[in-house]
Symmetry: C2
DNA sequence: TTGACGCATTCCGATATAGGAATATGATGC
DNA sequence: GCATCATATTCCTATATCGGAATGCGTCAA
């Protein structure tokens, strides 16, 4: 087996920095492709290809407007990512990220730090 | 060019579901490799390889204990992911995620909603 | 030492990516 | 129709993956 397709889910689609940039730009408002090409400084076919991936995972929607194709953000597929990382936030927001296991510590809601095992 | 290495950053490392599982397990406490092998139901070399990737992006630390190697979560490298997705949360937490551009709408604070999909 | 255990690494194959170049498609205007 | 703009697609190469099988290596026990 090879690596999972970039279109497998939002996790894979968003692993590519350029695609994140595109989403960031679209977060500021819908835009036709050429706008993105100019803003990103990338070759047009490249942008189209990235947009295709984003389309296939549902992160963007397209709307035809004359000869332009206007892309619009659809952030919904990002939710699983947010839901997955959020619990880990505690880990780095606490000062003792080097202790045993942070998330476990949190379950006991501050406990004093004694080493227990699992 | 090919796709970015899985060890390029946390985004790429975490795009693989099994690696997320591993992190989830380690969130519950540090564990030796064989524990993970049993819990995941994967071949041992596979787990070792995934752990290597996680190590290279700094998401886990290892500690030798006799003949075992105990892995511990280090969530810090996940912060960039959290920081990147968080702003998008607004998009799906609002009921009009299908409108023009959600984040832009939010700037004007409430406006009206049309339900539509494709 | 010998053997068993715990884990990591290497070799292999199939897959599919990002990017570049060239080309195709589609809508608009004349 | 024909030229042009806006965008998508195809062809190509280099690279790096995930997984399996086999093997290497360090540690512990007798």
């Amino acid at each position: 087996m090879a690596r999972a397709a970039t279109t497998a889910d939002a996790f894979n689609a968003v692993a590519e920095p350029r695609r994140r940039e595109i989403l960031d730009l679209l977060a500021g408002g819908e835009r036709p492709v050429n706008d993105l090409v100019a803003l990103l400084g990338l070759a047009q076919p490249l942008v189209s290809k990235h947009l295709r991936v984003l389309r296939e995972v549902g992160l963007v929607d397209v709307r035809g407007d004359g000869r332009q194709r206007v892309y619009r953000l659809n952030a919904a597929p990002l939710k699983p990512i947010y839901d997955w990382v959020r619990p880990y936030e505690q880990a780095w927001s606490q000062r003792f990220s080097q202790l045993d296991t942070v998330l476990e510590e949190l379950k006991t809601e501050e406990d004093g730090e004694n080493g227990r095992d699992e």
